[in-house]
């Protein structure tokens, strides 16, 4: 690595400074104090690594307000890189290449040295990749200032020396060990195995558990087999019996199946027949339906077919009601009605219509009253006549009678007494006349009293008769129209009454006829007859014909509906349609099965024709089985315990060995993987451990060797050997073999010792990429002789490393180098 040029702005005393450096000669920068030599050195580090905290402000040129930045051009392995840093915000741009057209920007962003974000990290990585050492190493091995030559081999430096800072090998070793411990409990030699993880151990334990499970699962299977063997041995007899039972079973099963097949085949056959019949029936039904439908749509029925059911029923009721007869009846009734009306209009019923309905009873009363009046009048007349007869006739009759009787009695007496007849007659007459006179007097008296009574009676009767006549007249009033109509005729009340009765009857008859006519007229048939939908049908043909038509239509309809219903009915549909199963296929399967069974059991074929024989064979097999079963039961008692054991074995919770095997394979793969890894890890740990110790040893001895060589050169062989031990001060051995502590050396010799150490360190770190050497008034304490030796050494070093020497001492002008003024 070569620093080719630097330019800074606003950086301390260097407000705007540029410098270019030689790669092949020692760059000698001379200047008095405060001219900016150290500032230039600081600028190189600052451009690369930035400032720590407030250093940036401190380094800024006093009073400057312009740019504050630096640019470093370095050459690394034949490539030029430009690193530009703005110190105000730590923005850095790294480009590769000088010519603009070839330039490649490697980084452009924040490069804060304390930054933790992606950009600063990326910048640090870029520096690392380009071969720049960490800042601390830069400051100890690249930059060697004045008065601070002493250096301690700290951890970071040691790591750099042992691996160019690319990795922390102790940490790496620890990581490898940690990984190793995470895999196995077997510790590495000298380690405490208790703190370790145990992946391998876990995997192995898992495998062991799985193997155990597998063995158990397998032994469970083999146990079962063992028990089965024992069973086989101990029940050999039973086995035979069982075999026989199995044979029987086999035969029986086959026979059962065979007979079942036969049965099913026959049933299926039947079913197929039935189905065919049903198919035919359906076809017939369908045909009939088609015909019927055709017929219904024909001339005879089309009109009826289009009628709604209610109309059809109406039509039916119409044709069933014998409508024409009714119509004729109505006609007759009308005639009858006319006759009655004409009868009622006869003269003999004149006025009848104007009298009240109770005329009959009035007439009856009139007749009764009249008769009673007439009787009364007669009685009065009789009384009167009898009264007349009483006054004359009786006394006369009595006298005549008495005279006759006296004459007769006098004659009889004269004869008896032989007196003259005249005297006897006279005496008889006298006596009888006296008696008669007395009697006549009585009679007359009585007659007179009677007459008086009759007279009273007649007077009474007359009064009553008059009263009756008045009543009669009252009775006549309501029937006045009749009476008047018949006035002047000899029509008696009796006749009137009789006529009234006739009249009443006619009236009743008329009412009844009218009622009948009304009833007949009001019947539905007339409505039906007049319905516009039905009228044309009714009128189109006589009722009888229509009736037949309707009847036929109904029959046809019913037949059609029944057929349709039958067709729709599930049961009437063939099985193959409903079940979705093709009986033909099944039938063929059965036939095949039957043939197969017959081939295996030749005796079965005879059961085809005689299934009953098959049944008998079945039961005989059954019986034989039962007999064998009894024998087996006896044997089974002896082996039951074994079966219990077998049963116990069957109830297991083991997974199938196959699955366990698969898992074991997986675990095996894992174990194998871990084992390989463990071995690899172990190899890595051992090899790294070896490499570390070997390298530490080698690089320290190399460091010691190189330091010794430089120091011997600087002291002109006075000190032969320097031994570097990390963490301790270097041990110096003189050419006389005396070990000297560094503190005992002179200040100049101490400076030379540490300069030698730094050169050696830089040499080691430059093995991969040569680092420049910046010497800032490093040799203040060197005497002339030793300075000339240094000169020689530097002339040698310049062959592989760039050197920049800064000093206030003008003597350096005499050195062969490239003089740079600032």
């Amino acid at each position: 690595m070569k620093i080719k040029a630097i330019s800074v702005e606003g950086f301390g005393v260097l407000s705007d400074k540029k410098a270019t450096f030689s790669e092949k000669k020692i760059n000698i920068i001379l200047g008095d104090n405060e001219t900016g030599k150290s500032t230039l050195c600081a600028a190189i580090a600052a451009i690369l690594y930035g400032f720590a905290n407030k250093e940036a402000d401190r380094r800024r040129s006093w009073g400057a307000s312009g740019d504050y930045k630096g640019l470093l051009q370095v050459g690394i392995q034949n490539k030029d890189y430009i690193i530009e840093r703005d110190f105000t915000d730590n923005h850095v741009k790294v480009t590769c290449g000088i010519k603009k057209e070839d330039q490649e920007i490697l980084f452009d962003g924040d490069a804060n040295p304390k930054g933790r974000t992606e950009q600063p990290r990326a910048f640090r990585k870029l520096l690392d990749d380009l071969g720049f050492p960490p800042e601390t190493v830069f400051r100890s091995a690249v930059y060697i200032g004045q008065l601070d030559l002493e250096i301690e081999i700290n951890d970071e430096l040691r790591q750099q020396l042992s691996g160019a800072g690319k990795a922390d090998y102790l940490k790496a070793l620890e990581e490898l060990r940690k990984d190793y411990y995470s895999l196995t409990r077997q510790g590495l030699p000298g380690d405490n195995p208790k703190r370790v993880d145990k992946k391998l151990e876990e995997a192995r334990a898992k495998k062991l558990a799985l193997v155990d499970e597998y063995e158990l699962a397998r032994s469970h299977s083999s146990d079962s087999a063992k028990v089965e063997k024992e069973l086989d041995a101990s029940i050999h007899h039973s086995q035979e019996l069982e075999n026989r039972i199995i044979e029987f079973n086999f035969e029986k099963k086959a026979l059962d199946e065979y007979l079942a097949c036969l049965k099913e085949r026959d049933a299926l056959n039947q079913r197929i027949k039935l189905e065919n019949q049903q198919k035919e029936r359906i076809e017939r039904l369908q045909k009939s339906i088609n015909e019927d439908e055709h017929q219904l749509s024909g001339e005879r029925f089309s009109a009826l077919n289009s009628l709604p059911e209610a109309y059809l029923q109406a039509l039916e009721s119409y044709v069933q009601s014998d409508a024409e007869e009714r119509i004729r009846e109505i006609q007759g009734i009308s005639d009858q009605e006319k006759q009655i009306i004409s009868d009622l209009n006869d003269n003999k019923y004149l006025g009848f219509s104007a009298v009240p309905d109770d005329t009959g009873s009035i007439l009856k009363k009139i007749i009764e009253e009249k008769k009673s009046g007439d009787d009364f009048e007669k009685q009065t007349t009789v009384i009167r006549q009898e009264t007349k007869k009483l006054s004359l006739l009786l006394p006369i009759l009595l006298l005549v009678g008495a005279g006759l009787l006296g004459a007769v009695a006098g004659s009889i007496l004269s004869s008896l007494l032989h007196i003259r007849m005249i005297i006897g007659i006279s005496i008889g007459l006298l006596i009888f006349d006296i008696i008669t006179g007395i009697l006549v007097g009585f009679v007359l008296l009585n007659q007179n009293r009677k007459l008086h009574n009759e007279k009273n009676k007649r007077l009474n009767a007359q009064a009553q008769l008059d009263e009756k006549r008045a009543v009669f007249q009252d009775l006549l009033k309501p029937i006045e129209p009749i009476v008047q109509a018949n006035n002047g005729t000899d029509v008696s009340f009796e006749i009137l009454a009789e006529r009234w009765t006739q009249y009443q009857k006619l009236q009743q008859k008329l009412a009844s006829v009218q009622e009948r006519r009304k009833v007949l007229s009001e019947r539905d048939i007339f409505k039906i007859r007049d319905d516009p939908k039905l009228k044309s049908i009714i009128e189109s043909s006589p009722a009888a014909s229509l009736r037949d038509r309707l009847k036929d239509f109904r029959a046809l309809k019913t037949k059609l509906d029944t057929n349709r219903e039958n067709l729709q009915n599930n049961e009437s549909i063939p099985f193959s349609i409903t079940s979705g199963e093709n009986p033909d296929n099944r039938f063929r399967e059965l036939v095949i099965l039957i043939n197969e069974l017959e081939k295996k059991h030749t005796d079965f074929a005879s059961f085809q024709t005689d299934q009953r024989a098959g049944g008998l064979r079945q039961s005989s097999l059954q019986k034989e089985q039962e007999t064998l079963s009894v024998d087996i039961n006896t044997s089974n008692d002896t082996i039951r315990s074994l079966q219990v054991r077998q049963g116990q074995l069957q109830v297991s919770f083991y997974r199938p060995p196959l699955l366990i095997q698969e898992e074991i394979q997986n675990v095996d793969t894992e174990i194998q993987r871990v084992e390989v890894r463990i071995s690899a890890q172990k190899i890595a740990i051992e090899a790294l451990g070896e490499a570390i110790s070997e390298y530490e040893e080698s690089h320290l001895s190399r460091l010691s060797k190189w330091v010794s060589a430089y120091f011997a050169k600087f002291t002109d062989g006075k000190y032969e050997q320097v031994e570097i031990v990390p963490g301790e001060r270097p041990q110096i051995t003189t050419n006389k073999g005396v070990i000297v502590e560094p503190e005992l050396l002179s200040t100049g010799a101490q400076d030379q010792l540490f300069f030698a150490l730094r050169l050696a360190i830089a040499d080691i770190l430059s093995s991969e990429l040569s680092l420049p050497l910046i010497l800032d008034d490093t040799f203040v304490n060197f005497d002339e002789k030793r300075l000339s030796i240094v000169h020689l050494v530097l002339d040698k070093i310049i062959e592989s490393r760039q050197i920049i020497l800064l000093s206030h001492n003008p003597d350096y002008k005499d050195w062969s180098g490239c003089l740079i003024n600032i």
Binding site: E175, L659, R677, A680, A684, A687
Partner: protein, 383 residues
């Protein structure tokens, strides 16, 4: 014409534990694949007559209740569609195992299970008026060889055999158990129209004589064993009179297993980030299980863990096998020239490598170098 689905190795209920948190999610993929196959079967437009499962229907003989419930639902759907399901038990769901699902469960009635330990005629089915004679065997400890020699019935119709076994000379046989070895020549002698095999997880087909022998493979891959990578297929078989069986392969997997090798000598990736981008661009997919082997001598040292972390969001599952040669890398060679501890370390390992012959030791040394390099880089990064 008879059309059926040929399934095998569904491994219902399998939980790929190596997937950790994703194991359950992946387990559901297997169930979904079967459910989709059922959807396909019951779709009337596909006219599927039957479903054949040639072994390893379930991952274990006695799967958990939820798997039984799920399968029951699916089988009921097929039953409703009048599609019979014929199953031959495999080595994973062996019928002879304790509490085998094929013997104890209510699900048994929804399948026609081949129980014979030897290959023989099992049942005949008539589909669309055509007869299919099915032969097969159940994987069982009692099964005895030969498994590939069996008698065909002298009947007209299609003859189909179902066996869960290993076809000698077939692909990927080394990664599967070989208890049921099958000779191609013997199978050919059986005169079957179609032999539905199961056990090998990769689709394969062979025609010999008039027989077509097919492994349908899984519907979803299970793990990185040979034959599990690439697409998976639903195999639809059509048998037609006087015609060779017709096969239809429908891509069925929702996730794909891929095994790749990336030779970094032929790639330009100068850093882990660039390598990650390269891998992402070449293979990245969230529906992919990728096993990537890195070989060659990259200019940087690969950290397998760190690379995997970078790519974790770009794959459903990623396994990186770093077989790069660290010793030949530019970085290692640069270091080897250094007079530093790491230079010395590298030289030491190189020296050891020269004296080593076994691959195992070479592998250890490679890894040792990589591990140390990673640690150097980690500890060397100063803030």
């Amino acid at each position: 014409m008879v059309k059926f689905l040929h399934l095998a190795d569904l491994h219902l209920g399998a939980t790929p534990l190596y997937l950790g948190d994703r194991a359950q999610e992946r387990s559901k993929d297997y169930l979904n694949a079967f459910q989709r196959a059922v959807d396909y079967a019951i779709d009337p437009s596909n006219s599927i007559d039957a479903v054949l499962v040639a072994g390893d229907f379930f991952d274990i003989p006695n799967p958990p209740q939820e798997i039984i419930r799920f399968t029951t639902t699916q089988l009921k759907r097929l039953e409703q569609a009048k599609i019979p399901v014929i199953v031959t038990p495999g080595n994973h769901d062996a019928i002879g195992a304790a509490e085998s699902i094929y013997r104890n469960s209510s699900i048994k009635g929804l399948m026609k299970i081949i129980e014979s330990p030897q290959v023989e005629h099992f049942k005949s089915f008539v589909f669309n008026g055509e007869t299919v004679y099915l032969y097969g065997m159940a994987w069982d400890v009692q099964s005895k060889p030969p498994f590939d020699t069996f008698q065909k019935l002298n009947e007209d119709g299609y003859h189909v055999a179902m066996i869960h076994g290993t076809l000698q000379g077939g692909l990927f046989t080394e990664s599967h158990s070989r208890e049921i070895p099958l000779e191609l020549a013997n199978l050919a002698k059986s005169g079957m129209d179609y032999i539905a095999l199961g056990h090998i997880h990769k689709y394969q087909q062979k025609s010999i004589g008039k027989s077509l022998i097919v492994y349908p493979g899984t519907l979803e891959s299970r793990r990185f064993t040979p034959g599990e990578e690439g697409d998976r297929y639903l195999v639809v078989v059509t048998l037609e009179k006087k015609k060779a069986p017709k096969l239809e392969q429908l891509k069925w997997n929702c996730k794909t297993f891929q095994v790749e090798k990336l030779d970094l000598d032929h790639e330009t990736a100068e850093s882990e980030e660039e390598l990650a981008n390269l891998i992402k661009a070449k293979f990245g997919s969230n529906e992919k299980f990728l096993r990537l082997e890195l070989v060659g001598s990259p200019s940087f040292i690969i950290s397998q863990d760190s690379l995997a972390t970078r790519l974790s969001g770009d794959f459903y599952w990623l396994e990186i096998q770093d077989n790069t040669n660290a010793f030949d890398s530019v970085l290692t060679e640069t270091w080897a020239r250094e007079e530093t501890i790491r230079g010395l370390f590298v030289r030491k390992l190189k020296h050891k490598l020269e004296g080593v012959e076994s691959d195992e030791e070479k592998q250890q040394l490679e890894l040792a170098l990589k591990l140390a390099t990673q640690v150097f880089q980690k500890t060397g990064q100063r803030s």
